[in-house]
Each structure stands twice: as structure tokens, then as C-alpha cells.
């Protein structure tokens, strides 16, 4: 199925669930153009079939674009930085930064500090064996990078 058809269905199903009217073709296209620009989405990607022949980076950029279109109140980005080159990382992070508002939240799951140079977190939580063992401000991530996970496990 084409990426556009999928997005339109997903968007209208979400709107329906929220008690909003469905978006017509013209309004949908306007929104697509606006949001694609916001997250620097390659228009080529939209005319292609969903996830058919997408590279790892393209899939992730497409998901940021989906997020821009569907506007979830809570977004969970699970290891969204794995397998991304620097440029793709910058685009993905830029998307998150532009989409963040007072009314939504993102949980960014990562093993590395690298992504957090681009997305500045409000809070950092360290999870081990399914439990949050330490929480702190953004500096905690830097400290972790320096001292390693064993350090936090010992001090938990």
C-alpha cells in the first residue's frame, strides 16, 4: 500500500476516535506538505509503498514523519538512533525537537549519549532489569557516559 494512503487512513481513523471529522483530500495534502517540510522529509518517500525497499534510515525518517502527521500525545522512540548516520540522526532529532510542545511527551530509549546531544532531555531515567533504578536531570546521561553502567548499578 502506498505511504500516502496508509497515512491518510491512519490520520482519519485517529481523528474519528478523537471525535473529529475526517480530513478531505485537499486539506490532507496541505497538511502533508507542511509537515514534510517541518521534518525535512523527502517527497519521494511518500509516493512509495510503505516500508517496501526502505533503508533503515528511511524507515526511521518516515516514522518521524508519521509522528508529525498523527501528533500522538505520547511518543515512544525505541532505539531510534540505531543504524543511523550523522545526517539522518540530525533529521530525526530535529523532527522530535520541532514536534515537542507543552502538550505532548516523548520517551526516547537509547544506549548512547550521542542522540542526547541533539535531543536535550528533560529527565533521564536509567532502567535495569525492567526497573527504573536511577533518575536525574540531563547531566545524568553525561555522567553515565563517563563512568559506565556498572557505576550506576553499584550506586542504585
Amino acid at each position: 500500500m502506498s505511504n500516502m494512503n496508509f497515512l491518510r487512513t491512519a490520520l482519519n481513523e485517529t481523528r474519528k476516535a478523537n471525535g473529529l471529522t475526517e480530513l478531505g483530500g485537499k486539506d490532507f495534502l496541505t497538511l502533508v506538505r507542511e509537515r514534510a517540510k517541518l521534518v525535512e522529509m523527502d517527497p519521494d518517500l511518500m509516493s512509495r509503498n510503505l516500508n517496501v525497499g526502505f533503508s533503515g534510515g528511511e524507515k526511521k525518517r518516515n516514522e518521524i514523519f508519521q509522528m508529525a502527521m498523527l501528533e500522538p500525545r505520547l511518543g515512544i522512540l525505541d532505539e531510534t538512533d540505531s543504524g543511523l548516520d550523522i545526517d539522518a540522526l540530525r533529521i530525526v532529532a530535529g523532527g522530535v525537537n520541532k514536534l515537542r510542545t507543552m502538550d505532548n511527551a516523548f520517551i526516547v530509549v537509547t544506549h548512547y549519549q550521542r542522540l542526547l546531544d541533539h535531543i536535550i532531555p528533560d529527565f533521564v531515567h536509567v532502567m535495569a532489569d525492567g526497573r527504573i533504578i536511577k533518575s536525574g536531570p540531563k547531566d545524568l546521561a553525561l555522567e553515565l557516559e563517563e563512568k559506565g553502567y556498572d557505576w550506576v548499578k553499584e550506586h542504585a
Binding site: 500500500m1 496508509f6 487512513t9 491512519a10 481513523e13
Partner: protein, 421 residues
């Protein structure tokens, strides 16, 4: 002396087969009497019970029924209408759209040279009861004769309407596509009431695709009647034959397609889509004979079977010893929904040449759970997600349909059917 004779199960149809003046009718009737009704012990009918078709009583098809025609297809076609198997000039378009093309009732042309030279020549009577039945008393059918190097400009839309139940209809077509000619035919079976489940439509179509000629057939079955259909096809050198069969409704549907690739570099493409629910039984039986070198064939059949539906696919490819450099591909993929849905799929490759590329594959599965999760996690409801994935499953078969107008029309009908699955 008195003898006890077992009652012939064909007794229900025999009276309807007598007295026809079509060519070879008497000979065919003798074959009908001699051939048994196929049982589950007959390999070619192992998964499709046809015995019950003979337990019903039938009447001769009604040709003069009053019908309201459905909306025209959303693109330019020459429409030919058959009502209960009878040709209806009054409901059809002007059938002389261009010179060197004959589109007419086959019955009107039985004594004409090209018809006499070809009628009945590629449909053997002695091994298939339903072919013998059809030949013993055809209702009528379409003659399509395209003279040398002529391209039929508009697709021919053959609309076959069944108006009521308990009829025994035997459509008989003859397509002659001469050297270098091209034609496209859309055949659509529709019905006006749901009572037609008790009607039996037993069709035979013979198609000759001469050297360098091209024939494209799109067949859509969306009426509830029982269908037993045979496509007998011969493709000569560099000829191209393509058929796509879409089955959306039907009580019992059996589609036989027998293609003889009779000249070098002949090509056949067979595509099929079936969406079965209720108790619909659909059996696609294909045979491709690679008789000479350098021919190609490609088959792609895909189906979704829900509720108590049953699908059958049997694809035989026969490569003769001489048929070197044959390329033959075949694929059948199925999705089963629910515990009562069934599919029997059987590729059969019989290869006597040593320099060939042949492949076959069949799959039976369920809708991709990961795909469903992906869509649902992005706000799409489960029902909508299932419909989207089902449609996507069919996409590669639909993409093989070159006529964009028809492909779009078919996609809409398929979507509507998917809503019901």
C-alpha cells in the same frame, strides 16, 4: 426378461441436452452418455464434488427475460450482453465498431468458414464430461474474430447476466485472433437475485491466438451460480495469451484453463484472485503445455479464504522433451481466516526437456501479525488494518493487469468484498 438398470445421475440434465443442431452435438451427446460423473476418486476432481450438481432439477435457460442493465464500466468499451446464456442484440452496443473485427452471436456464424475450421478443434470430448455436455447443446456464446494485423480499439465487455435459479446454461465462445492481431476482453458474470445459486453455468471457450497475435482476457465471477468453466487455448509462435480470473462469489466454481503453447516463443500469463467466504468453493485448475522450444509461461494465483470457504489450486506444467529453453513460473499464495476455511494447493511439474527454467511455490498462512501491530500502533482500527493488509496481499496480482481502468474498478470491488470477510 427384465433388467434392472441403475439410474444414471446425469438423468437430471440429459433431457436438456437432446436435439441440438450445433456441430458435433450428436457425437458429444454419445460421450455424455458414456462418461461417468467425476467422483472424488477422479484425480482431477478430487477436491471438488460435482455429484451434487446432478441432484437438482434444471430448466432450459430463459433468453427473453426482462433485465435492467447495470451502470456501464467507467471507460470506453464495446458491451455485449448475454441473458441466461442467450445473446441479446437489443441490449448490446453497436457490434460493428470497426472493420475487420467480428463481434457477434456464435450461433449466427456456425456455417461460416473460419468458424467451421476451428470450432471444437481444441476441446476434446472424450475425457471431460462437462466439455461433452457443453458441446452437446450450447446455449449460445460470443464469436470474436479479429482479422490479420488488426487491433481491436476498445476492450470488449461481455456481460453475462443470470436472472433466476434452476437454469442450466451453457455458454460457448470462440475467439479467433489472427496473425498479428490484438484484442482485449472483459468478461463479467453477474446475477439479479441471490436465488441463482441453484443455476448451473457450464462454459467452454476456445481461443486461438495465431502467430504474433495477442489476446487479453479479464474474467470476473461475482454471481452466486455454480460455474464449471473451461478455457481451451492454443497459442502459436510469438503469440501472447493472458488471462486474469477474479472470483468473488459463487456456490461452486471450477475454472479449468488449458493452454497449449504450440509455436516457438509463445507466451502465456495466468493470474488469479479469489476471495471466498460463506460456503463458496473455488477450484482453479490450470494446465500449460510447453510443446515446443523457447516458450514462456507465468502463473500467479492468490486467495483469501474465510468462514467455510474452500479454495483449490492445481497447476500443471508439462514440458515436452523437445521444448528446450522453456521458462515456466508458477506461484500460489493463500491466506486462511478462521478454523473452517480450507485450501488444497498442488503444483504439478512434469518436465522431459533438460534445458529449462521452471519454478513453483505455494504458501498458506495468516495475515502478518507484525504488520497488524504496526498499523494498529499507529491508530488504525483492527478491522481497517486487516482490510489494508488483505488488499496489499493482492496488490502484486492486480498490478499485472495492464488496463488501468479495469484494475481500478476491480480494486474497488475487491475492497468492498474485503469489508465482508
Amino acid at each position: 426378461m427384465s433388467t434392472m438398470t441403475a439410474i444414471d445421475p446425469k438423468a437430471t440434465v440429459l433431457p436438456l441436452l437432446e436435439g441440438s443442431s450445433w456441430p458435433s452435438a450428436a457425437e458429444a451427446l454419445a460421450q455424455v452418455n458414456a462418461l461417468p460423473v467425476p467422483s472424488l476418486k477422479t484425480e482431477a476432481w478430487k477436491y471438488t464434488r460435482v455429484g451434487k450438481l446432478f441432484n437438482k432439477s434444471y430448466a432450459a435457460p430463459k433468453g427473453d427475460a426482462h433485465v435492467g442493465l447495470p451502470a456501464r464500466l467507467p471507460f470506453a468499451v464495446t458491451r455485449v450482453v448475454f441473458v441466461n446464456g442467450h445473446f441479446r442484440a437489443d441490449l448490446s452496443d453497436d457490434l460493428k465498431p470497426q472493420p475487420h473485427v467480428v463481434i457477434d452471436s456464435l450461433q449466427h456464424h456456425l456455417s461460416h468458414g473460419p468458424v467451421r475450421n476451428h470450432y471444437g478443434f481444441i476441446t476434446p470430448l472424450n475425457e471431460r464430461l462437462f466439455s461433452a455436455m457443453n458441446t452437446s447443446s450450447p446455449t449460445d456464446g460470443l464469436l470474436l474474430l479479429v482479422f490479420k494485423n488488426t487491433t481491436v480499439e476498445k476492450p470488449i465487455h461481455v456481460l453475462r447476466i443470470t436472472t433466476e435459479g434452476q437454469q442450466f446454461i451453457q455458454p460457448r465462445d470462440l475467439f479467433l485472433i489472427q496473425e498479428g492481431a490484438k484484442a482485449e476482453v472483459i468478461e463479467e458474470h453477474i446475477s439479479l437475485t441471490s436465488e441463482v445459486t441453484s443455476t448451473l453455468v457450464n462454459s467452454v471457450r476456445e481461443s486461438y491466438v495465431a502467430e504474433g497475435a495477442e489476446l487479453l482476457v479479464h474474467k470476473l465471477q461475482r454471481d452466486a451460480a455454480a460455474h464449471v468453466a473451461l478455457e481451451s487455448v492454443q497459442v502459436d509462435a510469438k503469440g501472447h495469451y493472458s488471462i486474469s480470473t477474479t472470483t468473488l462469489e459463487g456456490s461452486l466454481v471450477r475454472n479449468d484453463i488449458n493452454v497449449a503453447l504450440a509455436g516457438p516463443e509463445a507466451h502465456a500469463e495466468l493470474n488469479g484472485v479469489y476471495l471466498l467466504n460463506g460456503t463458496t468453493h473455488c477450484d482453479n485448475h490450470t494446465y500449460i503445455g510447453h510443446d515446443v522450444p523457447d516458450c514462456t509461461s507465468d502463473e500467479l494465483y492468490k486467495g483469501i479464504i474465510a468462514e467455510k470457504g474452500t479454495g483449490v489450486f492445481n497447476g500443471k506444467v508439462y514440458v515436452k522433451q523437445d521444448a528446450q529453453r522453456t521458462r515456466a513460473y508458477q506461484s500460489n499464495a493463500n491466506i486462511l481466516q478462521g478454523d473452517d476455511a480450507r485450501i488444497f494447493t498442488k503444483p504439478e511439474l512434469e518436465i522431459y526437456a533438460d534445458d529449462v527454467k521452471c519454478s513453483h511455490g505455494c504458501t498458506i498462512g495468516r495475515l502478518d501479525e507484525k504488520g497488524l501491530f504496526y498499523l494498529r500502533s499507529r491508530g488504525v482500527s483492527e478491522a481497517e488494518a486487516r482490510r489494508m493488509l488483505s488488499h496489499a496481499f493482492m496488490t502484486d496480482v492486480l498490478e499485472r493487469i495492464s488496463n488501468e481502468g479495469w484494475r481500478t474498478h476491480l480494486a474497488t470491488l475487491i475492497d468492498a468484498k474485503l469489508e465482508a470477510l
